[in-house]
C-alpha cells in the first residue's frame, strides 16, 4: 500500500473563526428565527409531569400482552390454559396454535386486571412448542464472497464485502397505548408518529365513527420510524379488548417485546468491485447488496451507490434475504447508514490502493459542489492536516480521521393548522402533529410568535390530538418542513383578522397597522399594546387557519468528519470529535436544530460501535433483548459533537431528522481504518474485530 499524503486544504469560501468556542459557538451560517430558546416542554419532560401514553394508568383498566413464540421457528402444537384461567384476575385468554417464523411472533394474548396477573397466567399456559430449523442471518442463505476478476480499463480493481447488523429502534417508550372505550365514545392514548394515521387506521375496529373518538399523543418517548402508520397490533388489541369489556385496555410492549417485534433496521451485506484509474476516477465495477429483512417482505434496500459520487459504469443489484427474525420498519433514513458505511469505507480503501488521500478522491468524485464546499470546511474544522497516513502509526493509542456524507430528499405531505388569538392577548397554536423528540411544541410556538410579532411567552401550543387540524405524520423528516410554513400562515391569518377588527373599531385602515415586539403599530408608530388591542375582540377571539398541500421534494446535504482514538492494545474505539455539517434552510430554533443534529450523530455512533440484534444461531431466539446486552452508547462514549448549520440561501425549512444520522457510521469506520491501518468491514466496530483488523494490518 502506498502512503497517502494529506493534501493542502485551500481557503474555503467561508471565513472560519480561529477560536472556536466549544458550545453554542457563533457558527450559524444560516438564519434562525430564534437562537436559544429551550424546549417549552423540557421541564415537564424531565420532572415527569409530561404524561406519555404509557403513563395512562386509568381506573378499572385491564392489561394485556401477546403470547409469543420463544424461538426463531417453532410450531405451537398444544397448550393448556386450565391453570392459567384460574389465575386471579384473568379475563381472557385467546391462543391460536400455529407455526411461527420468528422469536416474538404473537400467537394470541392474555388479558387480566393487572400486569402481574397477565404475567402469572402467561407462565401457567403450558405451551408445547416444537422447534424447527432456523436461519438467523443473511449469510445462512447467501455466501459471503469477495467478487473476483479485474474491471476492464481500470488501473486497479478493488473488491471487498461489507456488512451491517440488525439495529432495533430501542425507543425508551415502548410500542402500544391505551384505549378507553366508553360505549359511544372512546379515547385512544397512542405512542405514535402519526396521530392522524392512527385515527384513520382503526377503520371499524372501535365500532365508532371518527367523530366519536379521539387519538391523543401529547408526548412520544421516541419512535425513529417504528411508530409510523396505523394503530399497530398493540393498539388494535387494546381496541378490541376495551370495546368488548367496556373498560380501558392497556397494551404496551415490555423491553423484551420491543426488541423482538416492533421492527428494526434490517441487516445488510454489500459486495463491491470497483475499477479505478490512477487519477481516482471510477471506470466501472459492480455493487451487489442484500438486505436482511427477517420475515418481512421488502424494506431491505441499501442506498448504495448513493449518487453523490461519480461511479461510471458501476452496476447495482439488490436482493432481500429472509431469515427467522422480526421484519423491518422504517428507521431514521432507511437504507442509508448501512450504505454510507460501505460506500465511504470502500472509497477510502480504494483510494489507498492508488495512494490517494480520502479527501482528494472525494473532491474528484463528488458530483455536487455543496458537498465539496462542506468538505473543505469540515476538513479545516476537524484539523485534517493533522491526519497521518493510514497504517503509518505504530503507537498503542492511534488517532484516525474519517469522512462521511449524507443526502436526503423528501416531499412534504401537507397539513393544517390554526391560531387563535384570545381576548386576553393569549394565543393558541393548534395542529394535530406530534413531537417525537424534535421540539415541535417549541418550534410551533416560535413560528406563531414570530409571524405575529409577539413574545413566545404569550403562545400556548397544542399538538398530539386527532381533533386538532390534522398535521403530518412524523416520517421522512417532513414534520417541520410541513408544519412551520402552515403554522406561520395560520398565525398571519389570525393577525390579519385581529388588525382588521382593531382597524374597524378605531376607524383606521388595516393595512396601516402592524405588530412588532408585542406592540400594535400604526404606520410604524406605537399605537396600542398587544393586550389592549386584543381586549377589543369578542369573547371567541379570532382564528386564523391555513392548510398546505403536498409540497415539492426538498434536497438536503450533510458531511461529517470524525476523529477517533483507537486503543490498539484493547481494540476499543474512542470517538473524540465530530464536525457535523448539515444543510438546514431556514432554522426556526437553533438550539433544537443543533440538538437534532447532535442526536443523529449520537445514534449513528451507537449504530457504528455497539448496536446488534444477536439471534442465537441454534434456536433463533434473541439473546440480548434488553438494554444490557443490546448495547447503546452512553455518555462516556460520546465525543465532542459540533453541529454546523449550513445555510444555502433557502427560505424554506429543511429536513433535519434523518439526515444527520446518515454519514456517522461511515465516517467512524473510515476513521478507525485510518488509525488501525486495516479496515473493519463489518459493523459494529467491536474490539474483537478491531483487534482482528490489527492482526491483518500487521501481516
Amino acid at each position: 500500500m502506498k502512503a497517502d499524503t494529506a493534501p493542502a486544504i485551500p481557503a474555503g469560501p467561508f471565513a472560519i473563526p480561529t477560536d472556536m468556542p466549544t458550545l453554542n459557538r457563533p457558527m450559524n451560517l444560516g438564519q434562525s428565527i430564534d437562537d436559544n430558546t429551550s424546549r417549552l416542554d423540557g421541564i415537564a419532560k424531565i420532572t415527569g409531569a409530561a404524561r406519555y401514553s404509557s403513563d395512562m394508568i386509568l381506573p378499572n383498566s385491564l392489561y394485556a400482552r401477546f403470547v409469543r413464540c420463544p424461538f426463531g421457528a417453532a410450531n405451537l402444537e398444544s397448550f393448556d390454559d386450565t391453570e392459567a384461567l384460574k389465575v386471579d384476575g384473568v379475563i381472557e385468554i385467546d391462543i391460536q396454535p400455529k407455526e411461527c417464523q420468528y422469536d416474538g411472533q404473537p400467537v394470541g394474548h392474555v388479558a387480566a386486571t393487572s400486569p402481574m396477573a397477565v404475567d402469572r397466567a402467561m407462565r401457567a399456559l403450558n405451551l408445547k412448542w416444537k422447534k424447527l430449523p432456523v436461519k438467523t442471518q443473511i449469510t445462512d442463505t447467501v455466501k459471503q464472497e469477495v467478487p473476483q476478476g479485474e474491471v476492464s480499463g481500470a488501473d486497479v480493481t478493488f473488491a471487498a464485502v461489507y456488512s451491517t447488523p440488525v439495529q432495533t429502534h430501542s425507543s425508551l417508550e415502548t410500542h402500544g397505548g391505551v384505549v378507553d372505550h366508553r360505549g359511544d365514545k372512546a379515547t385512544v392514548y397512542a405512542s405514535t408518529q402519526g396521530t392522524s394515521s392512527v385515527r384513520d387506521g382503526f377503520g371499524d375496529a372501535l365500532g365508532l365513527k371518527q367523530s366519536d373518538f379521539e387519538v391523543v399523543c401529547e408526548y412520544v418517548g421516541g419512535g425513529f420510524g417504528s411508530k409510523l402508520g396505523g394503530p399497530g397490533k398493540e393498539l388494535m388489541l387494546a381496541a378490541k379488548l376495551s370495546q368488548k369489556f367496556k373498560r380501558p385496555a392497556y397494551v404496551m410492549c415490555n423491553r423484551w417485546e420491543e426488541h423482538l417485534d416492533t421492527g428494526n433496521r434490517p441487516s445488510s451485506m454489500t459486495s463491491v468491485k470497483l475499477g479505478l484509474k490512477k487519477d481516482g476516477s471510477v471506470v466501472g465495477g459492480e455493487i451487489r447488496t442484500w438486505g436482511g429483512t427477517g420475515v418481512g417482505r421488502g424494506g431491505g434496500g441499501v442506498a448504495i451507490p448513493s449518487g453523490r459520487y461519480d461511479f461510471q459504469g458501476v452496476d447495482k443489484k439488490h436482493n432481500d434475504v429472509s431469515f427467522n427474525g422480526g421484519g423491518p420498519r422504517p428507521f431514521r433514513a432507511p437504507g442509508h447508514p448501512q450504505a454510507v458505511f460501505a460506500e465511504e469505507l470502500m472509497l477510502d480503501e480504494a483510494a489507498a490502493l492508488i495512494g490517494m488521500d480520502p479527501l482528494t478522491i472525494r473532491r474528484k468524485l463528488l458530483k455536487d459542489d455543496v458537498y465539496r464546499e462542506m468538505m473543505e470546511m469540515g476538513a479545516r474544522l476537524i484539523g485534517w492536516n493533522e491526519r497521518k497516513p493510514t497504517g503509518s502509526q505504530k503507537t498503542a493509542m492511534r488517532i484516525g480521521y474519517g469522512i462521511g456524507t449524507g443526502g436526503w430528499g423528501s416531499a412534504s405531505p401537507g397539513g393544517s393548522a390554526e391560531v387563535v388569538i384570545h381576548q386576553d392577548g393569549s394565543v393558541e397554536s393548534r395542529t394535530g402533529t406530534q413531537d417525537i423528540g424534535t421540539g415541535q411544541r417549541t418550534s410551533m410556538g416560535i413560528c406563531t410568535a414570530s409571524a405575529i410579532g409577539i413574545p413566545l411567552s404569550l403562545v400556548t401550543v397544542q399538538i398530539g390530538r386527532s381533533t386538532l387540524p390534522p398535521g403530518p405524520g412524523s416520517g421522512g423528516s417532513v414534520t417541520s418542513p410541513t408544519t412551520a410554513p402552515t403554522m406561520m400562515a395560520a398565525a398571519e391569518a389570525a393577525k390579519k383578522k385581529l388588525l382588521e377588527h382593531v382597524a374597524r373599531q378605531a376607524n383606521e385602515k388595516a393595512e396601516d397597522l402592524s405588530v412588532k415586539d408585542g406592540q400594535v403599530l400604526r404606520r410604524g408608530e406605537k399605537f396600542l399594546s398587544w393586550k389592549d388591542a386584543c381586549s377589543k375582540l369578542t369573547a371567541e377571539g379570532v382564528t386564523g387557519s391555513a392548510s398546505t398541500g403536498e409540497g415539492g421534494r426538498g434536497a438536503s446535504q450533510g458531511v461529517q468528519f470524525m476523529k477517533v482514538v483507537v486503543d490498539c492494545e484493547t481494540g476499543i474505539v474512542h470517538p473524540r470529535h465530530v464536525i457535523a455539517i448539515q444543510s438546514c434552510g431556514r432554522v426556526i430554533c437553533r438550539k433544537t436544530a443543533e440538538s437534532q443534529i447532535i442526536g443523529g450523530v449520537i445514534q449513528g455512533i451507537s449504530y457504528g460501535m455497539f448496536e446488534n440484534k444477536i439471534l442465537d444461531r441454534n434456536t433463533g431466539a434473541m439473546v440480548n433483548p434488553n438494554l444490557e446486552w443490546y448495547k447503546v452508547l452512553g455518555p462516556n462514549d460520546m465525543p465532542h459533537i459540533e453541529p454546523v448549520l449550513w445555510w444555502h440561501g433557502q427560505t424554506g425549512v429543511k429536513a433535519l431528522g434523518e439526515p444527520p444520522n446518515i454519514p456517522t457510521a461511515g465516517a467512524l469506520a473510515c476513521a478507525v481504518y485510518n488509525a488501525v491501518g486495516s479496515p473493519v468491514r463489518h459493523l459494529p466496530l467491536t474490539p474483537d474485530k478491531v483487534l482482528a483488523a490489527l492482526e491483518g494490518a500487521a501481516s
Binding site: 503507537t395 486503543d567 439473546v623 462516556n636
Partner: protein
C-alpha cells in the same frame, strides 16, 4: 412475579433466622436489590418473602468502610458508591475504589452493596433468559458452547461457561480478604474459598450454606494496588476482561504481586504464573513487564467467539500493574 412480603429484620442474625423460616417457600435476602430485581423481572425466581437487609449494620459498625489496626473493614451493606468515594480507602487500597467506581452506572452504584456484588449471579444471557433451560436452571445443556459465546469464559473445564461478574471479588482477593458470616457455625471464610467452579456444582456459584449471611469483609491495606477493566462501552457495561493487582515495590522493582483476573472465568481467576513472573520486574522496563504479563492467558481455551479475550487479558493485567505502581498506562499518556 407473585406477591411477596417484605421483612425488615434489625440484625443479620434475625435475617439469617428468617431465611430458615419454613413458613416461606422461598425467602431471599435483599440488599441493594439490583440483581434481585433482574431475577424477578426475568421470571427466574419466585420468592414469597424478601428479607431486606439494606439498612442492617452490625452492632458497633458506624461507617460503611473503615481502617483500624491495619485492617480494612467494609460493611456488607456498604454501597459501591460509598466505597468508590472513600478517601481513606483510596489511599489504603486504591483497587477497591477503582473496582467499585468502574462498575455499572452511578444510579446502580448508589444502590448496589459490596456483599450483593460478591454474591450476584452471572450475567450469562442464556442463564438470564427463562426460555433457555440451561445447566444453571437444571437443564442439560450449556447453550453457549455451540451458541453465542462472545462474552463467555476462556478458562475452566465447563460444563458451564459463565464469567464471574463481580468487580469487587478480584479487587478484594488481592488483599487476601476474609468474608465474615453469621447464621452458621463458622464465623468467617477466606474470600478465596467463597466460590467454586461449575464442575463442583452448577446451580450455585458460591460455597455459602443455607442461612449464612455476610456481615462484613476485611482485607489488608494494599497502597500499591489497582483495577483495570476493558469494557466495550465506557458507560454502564460489564468488563470483557479485567484485572486486579496488588504489588509490593522496592523502588521500581516488584518484590511481590497478587494478580486476579475478572470476566474471563467462572470464578475470579488467580494468575499465579504472572505473579511469579512479575517478581523482580522493574515496572519502568516496558519489555520485561510485557513479557511477564504476556503469560496471563496461558492455558486459556477460548470458545468459538471469544478468542479476543486472550489478547486482552495481558493488556488488562499490565495496565493494572502500571497503575498499581503509580505509573500511567497508554491511555493516560
Amino acid at each position: 412475579m407473585n406477591n411477596f412480603a417484605i421483612a425488615r429484620p434489625d440484625s443479620y442474625e434475625a435475617a439469617s433466622a428468617m431465611t430458615r423460616d419454613r413458613t416461606y417457600k422461598l425467602a431471599v435476602l435483599k440488599a441493594g436489590g439490583v440483581d434481585l430485581l433482574d431475577h424477578l423481572k426475568g421470571g427466574l425466581i419466585d420468592p414469597d418473602v424478601l428479607i431486606d437487609v439494606r439498612r442492617v449494620r452490625e452492632a458497633g459498625a458506624k461507617d460503611p468502610v473503615g481502617i483500624s489496626g491495619g485492617v480494612i473493614r467494609v460493611e456488607a451493606g456498604a454501597t459501591l458508591a460509598e466505597i468508590a468515594r472513600s478517601d481513606e480507602l483510596l489511599r489504603a487500597a486504591p483497587v477497591l475504589g477503582q473496582a467499585a467506581g468502574d462498575a455499572a452506572s452511578p444510579q446502580v452504584r448508589n444502590a448496589a452493596t459490596v456483599a450483593g456484588n460478591l454474591l450476584q449471579r452471572p450475567r450469562c444471557w442464556y442463564y438470564r433468559n427463562a426460555q433457555f433451560p440451561c445447566l444453571k436452571k437444571g437443564g442439560s445443556t450449556c447453550f453457549a458452547v455451540e451458541g453465542e459465546n462472545r462474552y463467555h469464559a476462556i478458562f475452566g473445564p465447563g460444563p458451564c461457561h459463565i464469567v464471574h461478574p463481580s468487580n469487587m471479588a478480584p479487587a478484594l482477593l488481592v488483599g487476601d480478604a476474609v468474608v465474615h458470616l453469621t447464621g452458621s457455625g463458622r464465623k468467617e471464610l477466606p474470600l478465596s474459598e467463597l466460590y467454586h467452579m461449575p464442575d463442583k456444582g452448577v446451580m450455585s456459584e458460591n460455597n455459602l450454606e443455607a442461612g449464612e449471611v455476610v456481615t462484613h469483609i476485611t482485607c489488608r491495606p494494599m497502597p500499591n494496588s489497582a483495577f483495570y477493566a476493558i469494557k466495550e462501552k465506557q458507560s454502564f457495561d460489564w468488563p470483557v476482561a479485567a484485572a486486579a493487582v496488588a504489588v509490593e515495590l522496592n523502588g521500581a522493582t516488584i518484590t511481590s504481586a497478587r494478580v486476579v483476573a475478572a470476566a474471563v472465568a467462572p470464578v475470579p481467576w488467580w494468575l499465579p504464573n504472572v505473579e511469579a513472573a512479575l517478581k523482580g520486574v522493574d515496572v519502568a522496563n516496558d519489555e520485561a513487564l510485557r513479557k511477564a504479563c504476556a503469560i496471563a492467558a496461558e492455558g486459556a481455551k477460548p470458545m468459538t467467539d471469544n478468542g479476543y479475550k486472550v489478547k486482552m487479558l495481558p493488556v488488562a493485567v499490565r495496565r493494572a500493574v502500571l497503575r498499581s505502581a503509580g505509573r500511567p498506562t497508554e491511555v493516560e499518556s
